[in-house]
Protein backbone atom coordinates (compact mmCIF):
# COMPACT_ATOMS: atom_id res chain seq x y z
CA UNK A 1 0.00 0.00 0.00
CA UNK A 2 1.42 3.41 -0.86
CA UNK A 3 2.29 5.31 2.30
CA UNK A 4 -0.98 7.28 2.46
CA UNK A 5 -1.50 6.66 6.16
CA UNK A 6 2.00 7.69 7.19
CA UNK A 7 2.14 10.70 4.92
CA UNK A 8 -1.24 12.01 6.08
CA UNK A 9 -0.21 11.48 9.67
CA UNK A 10 3.09 13.30 9.44
CA UNK A 11 1.76 15.98 7.13
CA UNK A 12 0.19 17.99 9.94
CA UNK A 13 2.95 18.11 12.52
CA UNK A 14 1.05 20.16 15.04
CA UNK A 15 -1.84 17.73 15.09
CA UNK A 16 0.56 14.81 15.32
CA UNK A 17 2.23 16.48 18.31
CA UNK A 18 -1.16 16.81 20.00
CA UNK A 19 -1.97 13.16 19.31
CA UNK A 20 1.38 12.00 20.66
CA UNK A 21 1.08 14.22 23.72
CA UNK A 22 -2.26 12.62 24.51
CA UNK A 23 -0.84 9.15 24.11
CA UNK A 24 2.28 9.92 26.15
CA UNK A 25 0.14 11.40 28.91
CA UNK A 26 -2.04 8.31 28.95
CA UNK A 27 0.91 5.92 28.90
CA UNK A 28 2.78 7.70 31.69
CA UNK A 29 -0.31 8.08 33.87
CA UNK A 30 -1.33 4.46 33.44
CA UNK A 31 2.21 3.21 34.05
CA UNK A 32 2.55 5.36 37.16
CA UNK A 33 -0.81 4.32 38.58
CA UNK A 34 -0.44 0.65 37.71
CA UNK A 35 3.15 0.81 38.89
CA UNK A 36 2.00 2.27 42.17
CA UNK A 37 -0.60 -0.46 42.41
CA UNK A 38 2.00 -3.15 41.83
CA UNK A 39 4.41 -1.41 44.18
CA UNK A 40 1.81 -1.10 46.90
CA UNK A 41 0.76 -4.71 46.43
CA UNK A 42 4.33 -5.94 46.74
CA UNK A 43 4.94 -3.69 49.73
CA UNK A 44 1.86 -4.79 51.67
CA UNK A 45 2.90 -8.43 51.60
CA UNK A 46 6.68 -8.01 51.61
CA UNK A 47 7.06 -9.38 55.11
CA UNK A 48 5.17 -12.53 54.15
CA UNK A 49 6.69 -13.01 50.70
CA UNK A 50 10.26 -12.72 52.04
CA UNK A 51 9.62 -14.86 55.10
CA UNK A 52 10.99 -18.06 53.57
CA UNK A 53 8.13 -19.94 55.23
CA UNK A 54 5.71 -22.39 53.63
CA UNK A 55 2.91 -21.95 56.15
CA UNK A 56 1.78 -19.20 58.51
CA UNK A 57 -0.02 -20.08 61.71
CA UNK A 58 -2.10 -17.28 63.19
CA UNK A 59 -4.69 -16.80 65.84
CA UNK A 60 -8.29 -17.09 64.69
CA UNK A 61 -9.72 -14.37 62.42
CA UNK A 62 -6.49 -12.58 61.56
CA UNK A 63 -7.19 -10.85 58.23
CA UNK A 64 -3.70 -9.48 57.48
CA UNK A 65 -0.20 -9.54 58.85
CA UNK A 66 -0.39 -6.22 60.70
CA UNK A 67 -3.39 -7.48 62.64
CA UNK A 68 -1.70 -10.36 64.45
CA UNK A 69 -3.37 -11.48 67.71
CA UNK A 70 -1.29 -13.04 70.46
CA UNK A 71 -1.63 -16.74 71.22
CA UNK A 72 0.24 -19.25 73.37
CA UNK A 73 3.78 -19.94 72.23
CA UNK A 74 3.45 -23.48 73.58
CA UNK A 75 1.74 -24.39 70.31
CA UNK A 76 5.18 -24.17 68.76
CA UNK A 77 6.07 -27.56 70.24
CA UNK A 78 2.92 -29.12 68.84
CA UNK A 79 3.83 -27.77 65.43
CA UNK A 80 7.41 -28.99 65.58
CA UNK A 81 6.24 -32.48 66.58
CA UNK A 82 4.35 -32.94 63.35
CA UNK A 83 5.94 -35.14 60.68
CA UNK A 84 6.52 -33.09 57.56
CA UNK A 85 7.57 -30.00 59.52
CA UNK A 86 11.30 -29.34 59.13
CA UNK A 87 11.34 -26.10 61.05
CA UNK A 88 8.94 -23.80 62.95
CA UNK A 89 9.71 -20.42 64.48
CA UNK A 90 7.83 -17.83 66.50
CA UNK A 91 7.52 -14.35 65.03
CA UNK A 92 6.31 -11.12 66.55
CA UNK A 93 4.77 -8.52 64.24
CA UNK A 94 3.05 -5.66 65.92
CA UNK A 95 2.92 -1.87 66.37
CA UNK A 96 5.01 0.07 68.83
CA UNK A 97 5.94 3.67 69.56
CA UNK A 98 9.42 4.90 68.65
CA UNK A 99 10.77 7.89 70.47
CA UNK A 100 13.01 10.27 68.54
CA UNK A 101 15.81 12.24 70.09
CA UNK A 102 13.72 15.39 69.81
CA UNK A 103 11.01 13.79 71.92
CA UNK A 104 8.53 13.20 69.11
CA UNK A 105 7.06 9.75 68.74
CA UNK A 106 6.54 7.72 65.59
CA UNK A 107 4.63 4.51 65.07
CA UNK A 108 6.72 1.54 63.93
CA UNK A 109 6.04 -2.12 63.21
CA UNK A 110 8.24 -4.39 65.25
CA UNK A 111 9.25 -7.68 63.62
CA UNK A 112 10.75 -10.08 66.14
CA UNK A 113 12.54 -13.19 64.85
CA UNK A 114 14.98 -15.94 65.69
CA UNK A 115 18.29 -14.59 64.41
CA UNK A 116 19.74 -18.10 64.14
CA UNK A 117 16.96 -19.20 61.81
CA UNK A 118 16.66 -18.39 58.13
CA UNK A 119 12.98 -17.47 58.25
CA UNK A 120 11.73 -13.85 58.38
CA UNK A 121 15.17 -12.31 58.33
CA UNK A 122 15.58 -8.75 57.02
CA UNK A 123 16.72 -8.68 53.40
CA UNK A 124 18.75 -6.31 51.20
CA UNK A 125 21.07 -5.19 53.96
CA UNK A 126 23.31 -2.31 52.94
CA UNK A 127 24.92 -1.78 56.33
CA UNK A 128 25.50 -4.21 59.18
CA UNK A 129 24.72 -7.94 59.30
CA UNK A 130 21.74 -9.95 60.49
CA UNK A 131 24.03 -11.57 63.11
CA UNK A 132 24.52 -8.11 64.64
CA UNK A 133 20.97 -8.45 65.96
CA UNK A 134 22.36 -10.86 68.56
CA UNK A 135 24.02 -7.96 70.36
CA UNK A 136 21.97 -6.35 73.13
CA UNK A 137 19.00 -4.15 72.14
CA UNK A 138 19.91 -4.42 68.48
CA UNK A 139 17.56 -3.32 65.72
CA UNK A 140 17.74 -3.05 61.93
CA UNK A 141 15.58 -0.67 59.92
CA UNK A 142 15.35 0.57 56.36
CA UNK A 143 17.46 3.54 55.30
CA UNK A 144 14.39 5.08 53.69
CA UNK A 145 13.00 5.90 57.12
CA UNK A 146 16.14 7.32 58.71
CA UNK A 147 14.90 10.86 58.51
CA UNK A 148 11.42 9.98 59.76
CA UNK A 149 12.83 8.21 62.82
CA UNK A 150 15.63 10.70 63.39
CA UNK A 151 18.38 8.14 62.74
CA UNK A 152 21.69 9.36 61.36
CA UNK A 153 24.19 6.50 61.88
CA UNK A 154 24.84 2.95 63.01
CA UNK A 155 25.15 2.72 66.75
CA UNK A 156 22.62 5.38 67.65
CA UNK A 157 20.37 4.51 70.57
CA UNK A 158 16.67 5.19 70.76
CA UNK A 159 13.72 4.25 72.90
CA UNK A 160 10.82 1.99 71.99
CA UNK A 161 8.09 1.71 74.57
CA UNK A 162 10.55 2.66 77.26
CA UNK A 163 13.11 0.07 76.17
CA UNK A 164 16.53 0.69 74.68
CA UNK A 165 16.96 0.17 70.92
CA UNK A 166 20.35 0.38 69.22
CA UNK A 167 20.67 0.67 65.46
CA UNK A 168 23.05 -1.99 64.11
CA UNK A 169 22.13 -2.08 60.42
CA UNK A 170 20.16 -0.66 57.49
CA UNK A 171 18.26 -2.35 54.69
CA UNK A 172 17.26 -0.84 51.38
CA UNK A 173 13.85 -1.21 49.77
CA UNK A 174 11.89 -2.69 52.66
CA UNK A 175 8.94 -0.36 52.55
CA UNK A 176 5.90 -0.40 54.73
CA UNK A 177 2.53 0.25 53.15
CA UNK A 178 1.40 2.04 56.29
CA UNK A 179 3.28 5.05 57.61
CA UNK A 180 4.96 2.81 60.21
CA UNK A 181 8.37 1.49 59.15
CA UNK A 182 9.44 -2.08 59.95
CA UNK A 183 11.98 -2.48 62.75
CA UNK A 184 13.66 -5.90 62.86
CA UNK A 185 14.93 -7.27 66.15
CA UNK A 186 15.16 -10.47 68.17
CA UNK A 187 12.01 -12.22 69.34
CA UNK A 188 12.78 -11.40 72.96
CA UNK A 189 13.40 -7.70 72.28
CA UNK A 190 10.22 -7.60 70.22
CA UNK A 191 8.21 -8.91 73.13
CA UNK A 192 9.49 -6.01 75.23
CA UNK A 193 8.92 -3.42 72.55
CA UNK A 194 5.33 -4.58 71.88
CA UNK A 195 4.31 -5.54 75.39
CA UNK A 196 3.79 -9.16 74.40
CA UNK A 197 3.86 -11.67 77.27
CA UNK A 198 6.78 -14.07 77.44
CA UNK A 199 4.57 -17.08 76.74
CA UNK A 200 2.96 -15.53 73.70
CA UNK A 201 3.61 -15.09 70.05
CA UNK A 202 1.78 -13.49 67.12
CA UNK A 203 2.69 -15.99 64.40
CA UNK A 204 4.37 -19.33 63.95
CA UNK A 205 6.18 -19.78 60.65
CA UNK A 206 6.56 -23.32 59.30
CA UNK A 207 9.10 -24.72 56.86
CA UNK A 208 8.18 -28.09 55.35
CA UNK A 209 10.49 -31.07 55.19
CA UNK A 210 11.64 -32.02 51.69
CA UNK A 211 8.94 -34.03 49.93
CA UNK A 212 6.21 -33.13 52.43
CA UNK A 213 2.81 -32.32 50.99
CA UNK A 214 1.75 -28.77 51.76
CA UNK A 215 -1.99 -29.39 51.96
CA UNK A 216 -1.59 -32.53 53.98
CA UNK A 217 0.65 -30.83 56.54
CA UNK A 218 -1.76 -27.95 56.74
CA UNK A 219 -4.71 -30.25 57.42
CA UNK A 220 -2.75 -32.10 60.07
CA UNK A 221 -1.76 -28.86 61.74
CA UNK A 222 -5.37 -27.74 61.83
CA UNK A 223 -6.33 -31.08 63.36
CA UNK A 224 -3.59 -31.11 65.91
CA UNK A 225 -3.20 -27.46 66.93
CA UNK A 226 -6.39 -25.96 68.33
CA UNK A 227 -7.73 -22.43 67.95
CA UNK A 228 -5.43 -21.38 65.16
CA UNK A 229 -5.66 -20.79 61.45
CA UNK A 230 -3.09 -22.17 59.04
CA UNK A 231 -2.45 -20.42 55.74
CA UNK A 232 -0.01 -21.08 52.99
CA UNK A 233 2.37 -18.19 52.43
CA UNK A 234 0.63 -17.45 49.15
CA UNK A 235 -2.78 -17.37 50.82
CA UNK A 236 -1.74 -15.11 53.66
CA UNK A 237 0.06 -12.86 51.21
CA UNK A 238 -3.06 -12.60 49.08
CA UNK A 239 -5.25 -11.89 52.10
CA UNK A 240 -2.96 -9.11 53.27
CA UNK A 241 -2.74 -7.61 49.79
CA UNK A 242 -6.48 -7.80 49.30
CA UNK A 243 -7.13 -6.11 52.60
CA UNK A 244 -4.85 -3.17 51.98
CA UNK A 245 -5.56 -2.75 48.28
CA UNK A 246 -9.30 -3.32 48.13
CA UNK A 247 -10.90 -3.40 51.56
CA UNK A 248 -9.30 -0.07 52.42
CA UNK A 249 -9.98 1.24 48.90
CA UNK A 250 -6.40 2.35 48.36
CA UNK A 251 -5.88 0.06 45.41
CA UNK A 252 -9.21 0.95 43.90
CA UNK A 253 -8.34 4.64 44.00
CA UNK A 254 -5.11 3.96 42.14
CA UNK A 255 -6.86 1.79 39.57
CA UNK A 256 -9.49 4.47 38.99
CA UNK A 257 -6.71 6.95 38.27
CA UNK A 258 -5.24 4.47 35.77
CA UNK A 259 -8.62 4.13 34.06
CA UNK A 260 -8.91 7.91 33.93
CA UNK A 261 -5.56 8.04 32.18
CA UNK A 262 -6.85 5.57 29.62
CA UNK A 263 -10.01 7.60 29.07
CA UNK A 264 -8.07 10.84 28.58
CA UNK A 265 -5.73 9.19 26.12
CA UNK A 266 -8.66 7.67 24.25
CA UNK A 267 -10.49 10.98 23.98
CA UNK A 268 -7.44 12.92 22.79
CA UNK A 269 -6.50 10.34 20.18
CA UNK A 270 -10.12 9.97 19.01
CA UNK A 271 -10.41 13.68 18.57
CA UNK A 272 -7.18 14.18 16.66
CA UNK A 273 -7.60 11.17 14.40
CA UNK A 274 -11.16 12.32 13.70
CA UNK A 275 -9.91 15.81 12.87
CA UNK A 276 -7.29 14.33 10.56
CA UNK A 277 -9.94 12.16 8.92
CA UNK A 278 -12.18 15.18 8.34
CA UNK A 279 -9.24 17.07 6.83
CA UNK A 280 -8.80 14.25 4.36
CA UNK A 281 -12.46 13.35 3.85
CA UNK A 282 -12.28 14.27 0.17
CA UNK A 283 -9.40 11.86 -0.30
CA UNK A 284 -11.37 9.10 1.34
CA UNK A 285 -14.29 9.95 -0.92
CA UNK A 286 -11.95 9.71 -3.91
CA UNK A 287 -10.66 6.36 -2.70
CA UNK A 288 -14.21 5.08 -2.51
CA UNK A 289 -15.04 6.51 -5.92
CA UNK A 290 -12.01 4.69 -7.31
CA UNK A 291 -13.56 1.47 -6.07
CA UNK A 292 -11.85 1.00 -2.73
CA UNK A 293 -13.96 -1.12 -0.40
CA UNK A 294 -14.61 0.28 3.06
CA UNK A 295 -12.07 -2.18 4.48
CA UNK A 296 -9.30 -0.50 2.48
CA UNK A 297 -10.21 2.88 3.88
CA UNK A 298 -10.39 1.42 7.38
CA UNK A 299 -6.88 0.08 6.91
CA UNK A 300 -5.56 3.57 6.21
CA UNK A 301 -7.11 4.94 9.38
CA UNK A 302 -6.06 1.94 11.48
CA UNK A 303 -2.54 2.31 10.21
CA UNK A 304 -2.49 5.92 11.34
CA UNK A 305 -3.76 4.87 14.73
CA UNK A 306 -1.18 2.08 15.00
CA UNK A 307 1.73 4.34 14.00
CA UNK A 308 0.60 6.93 16.54
CA UNK A 309 0.35 4.18 19.15
CA UNK A 310 3.87 2.89 18.53
CA UNK A 311 5.51 6.32 18.60
CA UNK A 312 3.43 7.45 21.58
CA UNK A 313 4.22 4.24 23.44
CA UNK A 314 7.98 4.57 22.90
CA UNK A 315 7.98 8.20 24.03
CA UNK A 316 5.68 7.43 26.93
CA UNK A 317 7.84 4.55 28.12
CA UNK A 318 10.98 6.68 27.99
CA UNK A 319 9.32 9.18 30.30
CA UNK A 320 7.93 6.37 32.45
CA UNK A 321 11.35 4.78 32.92
CA UNK A 322 12.66 8.05 34.33
CA UNK A 323 9.65 8.40 36.60
CA UNK A 324 9.97 4.80 37.82
CA UNK A 325 13.68 5.22 38.51
CA UNK A 326 13.07 8.45 40.35
CA UNK A 327 10.46 6.84 42.57
CA UNK A 328 12.80 4.18 43.93
CA UNK A 329 14.23 6.57 46.50
CA UNK A 330 10.77 7.53 47.72
CA UNK A 331 8.31 6.05 50.14
CA UNK A 332 6.07 4.70 47.40
CA UNK A 333 7.99 2.77 44.80
CA UNK A 334 6.54 2.56 41.31
CA UNK A 335 7.27 -0.84 39.88
CA UNK A 336 7.19 -1.68 36.21
CA UNK A 337 7.70 -5.41 35.70
CA UNK A 338 8.36 -6.53 32.13
CA UNK A 339 4.91 -8.10 31.62
CA UNK A 340 3.39 -4.74 32.52
CA UNK A 341 5.60 -2.89 30.05
CA UNK A 342 4.67 -5.35 27.30
CA UNK A 343 1.00 -5.24 28.27
CA UNK A 344 1.16 -1.46 28.14
CA UNK A 345 2.11 -1.66 24.47
CA UNK A 346 -0.96 -3.67 23.62
CA UNK A 347 -3.14 -1.43 25.78
CA UNK A 348 -1.80 1.65 23.96
CA UNK A 349 -2.46 -0.02 20.62
CA UNK A 350 -5.99 -0.98 21.68
CA UNK A 351 -6.62 2.54 22.97
CA UNK A 352 -5.55 4.16 19.69
CA UNK A 353 -7.34 1.68 17.46
CA UNK A 354 -10.44 1.96 19.61
CA UNK A 355 -10.25 5.72 19.33
CA UNK A 356 -10.01 5.40 15.57
CA UNK A 357 -13.39 3.68 15.47
CA UNK A 358 -15.03 7.09 15.69
CA UNK A 359 -13.36 7.98 12.41
CA UNK A 360 -14.15 4.57 10.97
CA UNK A 361 -17.81 5.28 11.54
CA UNK A 362 -17.45 8.58 9.72
CA UNK A 363 -15.70 7.23 6.62
CA UNK A 364 -18.19 4.38 6.37
CA UNK A 365 -20.85 6.96 5.63
CA UNK A 366 -18.83 9.08 3.22
CA UNK A 367 -20.76 9.36 -0.02
CA UNK A 368 -18.34 8.85 -2.93
CA UNK A 369 -20.57 11.13 -5.00
CA UNK A 370 -19.07 14.01 -3.03
CA UNK A 371 -16.04 13.86 -5.32
CA UNK A 372 -18.15 15.42 -8.04
CA UNK A 373 -18.91 18.48 -5.99
CA UNK A 374 -16.47 21.28 -6.82
Amino acid sequence: MPPLAQRNLFHDKVRLAVTLTGIVFAVVLIVVELGLFVGFTVTTSGLIDHSGADLWITSMNVPYVEQGVAFSERKLNQVRALPGVADAQKVVAHWAQWKRHDGAEESVQIVGLNVDDAMEQPWNLVAGRVEDLKSPDAIILDELYKKKLGVTRIGEVFEIRGHRARVVGFTRGIRSFTTSPYVFTTFKNAQSYTGLREDQTHFILVKLAPGANLEQVRRELLDRVKDVEVFTTAEFSHMTRFYWMFTTGAGVAVLIAAVLGLVVGFVVVAQTIYATTMDHVREFGTLKAMGAPNSYVYKVIMKQAAISAVIGYVLGMIVSVFVVRGSQAGGAAILMPMPMAVGMFFLTLAMCIGAALVSINKVTHIDPAMVFKG
Partner: protein, 259 residues
Protein backbone atom coordinates in the same frame (compact mmCIF):
# COMPACT_ATOMS: atom_id res chain seq x y z
CA UNK B 1 -20.50 -4.85 -30.48
CA UNK B 2 -22.14 -4.50 -27.08
CA UNK B 3 -22.23 -1.02 -25.67
CA UNK B 4 -19.84 -0.40 -22.79
CA UNK B 5 -22.68 1.42 -21.07
CA UNK B 6 -26.33 0.75 -21.82
CA UNK B 7 -28.99 2.84 -20.09
CA UNK B 8 -32.70 2.23 -20.52
CA UNK B 9 -35.54 4.24 -19.03
CA UNK B 10 -33.32 5.43 -16.22
CA UNK B 11 -35.03 7.44 -13.51
CA UNK B 12 -33.49 8.90 -10.39
CA UNK B 13 -35.57 10.55 -7.71
CA UNK B 14 -34.65 12.03 -4.34
CA UNK B 15 -37.14 12.24 -1.51
CA UNK B 16 -36.63 15.07 0.99
CA UNK B 17 -39.42 15.04 3.53
CA UNK B 18 -42.66 15.37 1.56
CA UNK B 19 -40.89 16.64 -1.55
CA UNK B 20 -39.77 14.34 -4.35
CA UNK B 21 -37.13 15.69 -6.73
CA UNK B 22 -36.78 13.99 -10.10
CA UNK B 23 -33.13 14.23 -11.14
CA UNK B 24 -33.42 11.96 -14.19
CA UNK B 25 -36.51 10.96 -16.06
CA UNK B 26 -36.62 8.04 -18.47
CA UNK B 27 -33.10 8.42 -19.90
CA UNK B 28 -32.03 6.11 -22.69
CA UNK B 29 -28.45 6.18 -23.88
CA UNK B 30 -25.71 3.84 -25.07
CA UNK B 31 -21.97 4.50 -24.99
CA UNK B 32 -19.78 2.31 -27.15
CA UNK B 33 -16.11 1.34 -26.82
CA UNK B 34 -14.00 3.74 -28.84
CA UNK B 35 -16.56 6.53 -28.53
CA UNK B 36 -16.11 9.93 -26.88
CA UNK B 37 -19.48 11.19 -25.68
CA UNK B 38 -20.08 14.58 -24.09
CA UNK B 39 -22.92 15.40 -21.74
CA UNK B 40 -23.93 19.03 -21.72
CA UNK B 41 -26.62 20.99 -19.98
CA UNK B 42 -27.26 23.73 -17.45
CA UNK B 43 -26.43 23.29 -13.79
CA UNK B 44 -28.89 20.99 -12.07
CA UNK B 45 -29.90 19.34 -15.33
CA UNK B 46 -28.91 15.89 -14.12
CA UNK B 47 -25.75 15.29 -16.15
CA UNK B 48 -23.54 14.67 -13.12
CA UNK B 49 -26.25 12.42 -11.67
CA UNK B 50 -26.24 10.45 -14.92
CA UNK B 51 -22.45 10.25 -14.82
CA UNK B 52 -22.56 9.07 -11.20
CA UNK B 53 -25.02 6.31 -12.04
CA UNK B 54 -22.95 5.24 -15.04
CA UNK B 55 -19.96 5.16 -12.69
CA UNK B 56 -21.81 2.98 -10.14
CA UNK B 57 -21.52 5.68 -7.52
CA UNK B 58 -25.24 6.35 -7.33
CA UNK B 59 -28.01 3.81 -7.71
CA UNK B 60 -30.96 4.25 -10.03
CA UNK B 61 -34.50 4.59 -8.75
CA UNK B 62 -35.80 2.64 -11.73
CA UNK B 63 -34.71 1.54 -15.16
CA UNK B 64 -31.79 -0.52 -16.38
CA UNK B 65 -28.10 0.21 -16.41
CA UNK B 66 -25.66 -2.26 -17.88
CA UNK B 67 -21.90 -1.87 -17.52
CA UNK B 68 -19.92 -4.13 -19.85
CA UNK B 69 -23.03 -6.23 -20.29
CA UNK B 70 -23.65 -6.58 -16.54
CA UNK B 71 -26.90 -5.27 -15.05
CA UNK B 72 -25.97 -3.17 -12.06
CA UNK B 73 -29.30 -1.87 -10.86
CA UNK B 74 -29.89 -5.01 -8.82
CA UNK B 75 -26.55 -4.76 -7.05
CA UNK B 76 -26.30 -3.60 -3.45
CA UNK B 77 -24.21 -0.61 -2.39
CA UNK B 78 -21.56 -2.98 -1.08
CA UNK B 79 -21.22 -4.66 -4.47
CA UNK B 80 -20.83 -1.46 -6.52
CA UNK B 81 -17.19 -0.62 -5.54
CA UNK B 82 -16.02 -3.85 -7.17
CA UNK B 83 -17.74 -2.87 -10.44
CA UNK B 84 -16.16 0.58 -10.33
CA UNK B 85 -12.75 -0.89 -9.66
CA UNK B 86 -13.07 -3.34 -12.53
CA UNK B 87 -14.67 -1.25 -15.23
CA UNK B 88 -14.53 2.48 -14.51
CA UNK B 89 -11.82 5.12 -14.32
CA UNK B 90 -12.63 8.62 -13.12
CA UNK B 91 -11.15 11.98 -13.99
CA UNK B 92 -12.36 14.85 -11.82
CA UNK B 93 -12.60 18.58 -12.25
CA UNK B 94 -10.57 19.20 -9.13
CA UNK B 95 -8.09 16.42 -10.02
CA UNK B 96 -8.66 14.81 -6.59
CA UNK B 97 -5.07 13.71 -6.29
CA UNK B 98 -3.72 12.72 -2.89
CA UNK B 99 -1.55 15.69 -1.92
CA UNK B 100 0.78 13.76 0.37
CA UNK B 101 1.62 11.18 -2.31
CA UNK B 102 3.90 11.69 -5.29
CA UNK B 103 2.61 11.43 -8.84
CA UNK B 104 3.86 7.86 -9.02
CA UNK B 105 2.33 6.95 -5.68
CA UNK B 106 -1.01 8.40 -6.74
CA UNK B 107 -1.02 5.99 -9.69
CA UNK B 108 0.35 3.13 -7.59
CA UNK B 109 -2.59 3.56 -5.23
CA UNK B 110 -4.99 2.53 -7.96
CA UNK B 111 -2.81 -0.46 -8.78
CA UNK B 112 -2.67 -1.37 -5.10
CA UNK B 113 -6.46 -1.40 -5.06
CA UNK B 114 -6.33 -3.86 -7.96
CA UNK B 115 -4.03 -6.09 -5.96
CA UNK B 116 -0.89 -5.46 -8.00
CA UNK B 117 2.33 -6.15 -6.08
CA UNK B 118 4.24 -3.05 -5.00
CA UNK B 119 7.27 -3.51 -7.25
CA UNK B 120 5.18 -4.15 -10.33
CA UNK B 121 2.87 -1.28 -9.42
CA UNK B 122 5.81 1.09 -9.31
CA UNK B 123 6.98 -0.05 -12.75
CA UNK B 124 3.49 0.19 -14.24
CA UNK B 125 2.92 3.62 -12.71
CA UNK B 126 6.17 4.83 -14.28
CA UNK B 127 5.05 3.55 -17.67
CA UNK B 128 1.67 5.22 -17.41
CA UNK B 129 3.15 8.54 -16.37
CA UNK B 130 5.55 8.35 -19.28
CA UNK B 131 2.63 7.68 -21.60
CA UNK B 132 0.85 10.84 -20.46
CA UNK B 133 3.99 12.89 -20.90
CA UNK B 134 5.13 13.16 -17.30
CA UNK B 135 8.39 11.32 -17.69
CA UNK B 136 10.41 13.49 -15.32
CA UNK B 137 7.71 14.08 -12.73
CA UNK B 138 7.27 10.66 -11.13
CA UNK B 139 8.48 11.85 -7.74
CA UNK B 140 6.83 15.25 -7.79
CA UNK B 141 4.05 16.02 -5.35
CA UNK B 142 0.82 17.50 -6.69
CA UNK B 143 1.70 20.86 -5.17
CA UNK B 144 4.73 20.95 -7.48
CA UNK B 145 2.71 20.26 -10.62
CA UNK B 146 0.77 22.59 -12.90
CA UNK B 147 -2.96 22.10 -13.45
CA UNK B 148 -2.40 20.30 -16.70
CA UNK B 149 0.21 18.02 -15.15
CA UNK B 150 -2.11 17.19 -12.29
CA UNK B 151 -4.84 16.24 -14.72
CA UNK B 152 -2.38 14.03 -16.59
CA UNK B 153 -1.57 12.27 -13.33
CA UNK B 154 -5.31 11.85 -12.79
CA UNK B 155 -5.66 10.36 -16.27
CA UNK B 156 -2.75 8.00 -15.65
CA UNK B 157 -4.41 6.96 -12.39
CA UNK B 158 -7.73 6.42 -14.12
CA UNK B 159 -6.00 4.23 -16.71
CA UNK B 160 -4.03 2.26 -14.14
CA UNK B 161 -6.96 -0.03 -13.45
CA UNK B 162 -7.23 -0.76 -17.20
CA UNK B 163 -10.92 0.12 -17.22
CA UNK B 164 -13.10 -0.07 -20.31
CA UNK B 165 -14.91 3.13 -19.32
CA UNK B 166 -13.48 6.55 -18.52
CA UNK B 167 -15.84 9.06 -16.91
CA UNK B 168 -14.69 12.64 -16.65
CA UNK B 169 -16.45 15.43 -14.81
CA UNK B 170 -15.44 18.82 -16.20
CA UNK B 171 -11.82 17.74 -16.78
CA UNK B 172 -10.81 21.03 -18.42
CA UNK B 173 -12.72 23.46 -16.19
CA UNK B 174 -9.69 24.36 -14.08
CA UNK B 175 -7.30 24.56 -17.03
CA UNK B 176 -6.33 27.20 -19.57
CA UNK B 177 -7.15 26.71 -23.25
CA UNK B 178 -3.85 25.26 -24.28
CA UNK B 179 -3.65 22.85 -21.38
CA UNK B 180 -7.29 21.93 -21.73
CA UNK B 181 -6.70 21.12 -25.39
CA UNK B 182 -3.80 18.85 -24.46
CA UNK B 183 -5.97 17.04 -21.93
CA UNK B 184 -8.76 16.61 -24.46
CA UNK B 185 -6.31 15.25 -27.00
CA UNK B 186 -5.38 12.67 -24.44
CA UNK B 187 -9.04 11.84 -23.74
CA UNK B 188 -9.63 11.54 -27.46
CA UNK B 189 -6.70 9.18 -27.75
CA UNK B 190 -8.12 7.05 -24.94
CA UNK B 191 -11.31 6.65 -26.91
CA UNK B 192 -10.14 6.46 -30.51
CA UNK B 193 -6.78 4.77 -30.18
CA UNK B 194 -7.17 2.76 -26.99
CA UNK B 195 -10.80 1.80 -27.51
CA UNK B 196 -12.19 3.10 -24.21
CA UNK B 197 -15.74 4.37 -23.84
CA UNK B 198 -15.22 7.94 -22.70
CA UNK B 199 -18.00 10.07 -21.25
CA UNK B 200 -17.28 13.68 -20.42
CA UNK B 201 -19.52 16.12 -18.57
CA UNK B 202 -18.60 19.61 -19.63
CA UNK B 203 -19.72 23.20 -19.91
CA UNK B 204 -16.66 24.03 -21.97
CA UNK B 205 -17.69 24.80 -25.52
CA UNK B 206 -14.03 24.84 -26.57
CA UNK B 207 -13.84 21.09 -26.38
CA UNK B 208 -16.96 20.13 -28.30
CA UNK B 209 -15.02 19.38 -31.45
CA UNK B 210 -13.43 16.36 -29.76
CA UNK B 211 -16.77 14.67 -29.25
CA UNK B 212 -18.19 11.86 -31.36
CA UNK B 213 -21.57 12.65 -29.85
CA UNK B 214 -22.92 15.48 -27.77
CA UNK B 215 -25.95 14.78 -25.64
CA UNK B 216 -27.87 17.67 -24.13
CA UNK B 217 -29.73 17.20 -20.91
CA UNK B 218 -32.30 19.51 -19.39
CA UNK B 219 -34.46 18.94 -16.34
CA UNK B 220 -33.34 15.33 -16.12
CA UNK B 221 -34.20 14.36 -19.69
CA UNK B 222 -32.19 14.11 -22.89
CA UNK B 223 -33.41 16.91 -25.11
CA UNK B 224 -30.91 16.69 -27.93
CA UNK B 225 -28.13 14.72 -29.51
CA UNK B 226 -25.50 15.79 -32.00
CA UNK B 227 -23.61 13.00 -33.69
CA UNK B 228 -20.85 13.01 -36.23
CA UNK B 229 -22.07 9.52 -37.25
CA UNK B 230 -25.75 8.93 -37.96
CA UNK B 231 -26.65 6.15 -35.54
CA UNK B 232 -30.25 5.10 -35.08
CA UNK B 233 -31.92 7.12 -32.36
CA UNK B 234 -33.79 4.90 -29.90
CA UNK B 235 -37.44 5.69 -29.34
CA UNK B 236 -38.13 8.28 -26.72
CA UNK B 237 -35.23 10.58 -27.56
CA UNK B 238 -36.05 14.10 -28.67
CA UNK B 239 -33.62 15.81 -31.00
CA UNK B 240 -33.10 19.54 -31.29
CA UNK B 241 -31.05 21.58 -33.65
CA UNK B 242 -28.37 23.10 -31.47
CA UNK B 243 -25.04 22.57 -33.11
CA UNK B 244 -25.59 21.42 -36.66
CA UNK B 245 -28.13 22.91 -39.03
CA UNK B 246 -30.67 20.43 -40.35
CA UNK B 247 -30.23 18.10 -37.40
CA UNK B 248 -33.93 18.33 -36.66
CA UNK B 249 -34.77 17.03 -40.12
CA UNK B 250 -32.41 14.10 -39.80
CA UNK B 251 -33.76 13.24 -36.36
CA UNK B 252 -37.34 13.49 -37.56
CA UNK B 253 -36.68 11.17 -40.49
CA UNK B 254 -35.08 8.62 -38.13
CA UNK B 255 -38.05 8.81 -35.80
CA UNK B 256 -40.46 8.27 -38.65
CA UNK B 257 -38.54 5.26 -39.94
CA UNK B 258 -38.57 3.68 -36.49
CA UNK B 259 -42.28 4.12 -36.09
Amino acid sequence: MHPAIAVRQLTKTYAEGNTVTVALRGVDIDVHPGELLMLMGPSGSGKTTLLSIMGCILTASSGSVQIAGKEITQLTEKQLPAIRLEHVGFVFQGFNLFPTLTASENVELMLDLKGVAAKLAKKRAAELLDQVGLGGKHHSFPSDLSGGEKQRVAIARALAGDPGIILADEPTAALDSHTGKNVMEMMSELAHKRGRAVVIVTHDSRVLSFADRIVRIEDGAIVGMDSSQMEPVPAGILAHNFSQPGLNEIATESMESLS
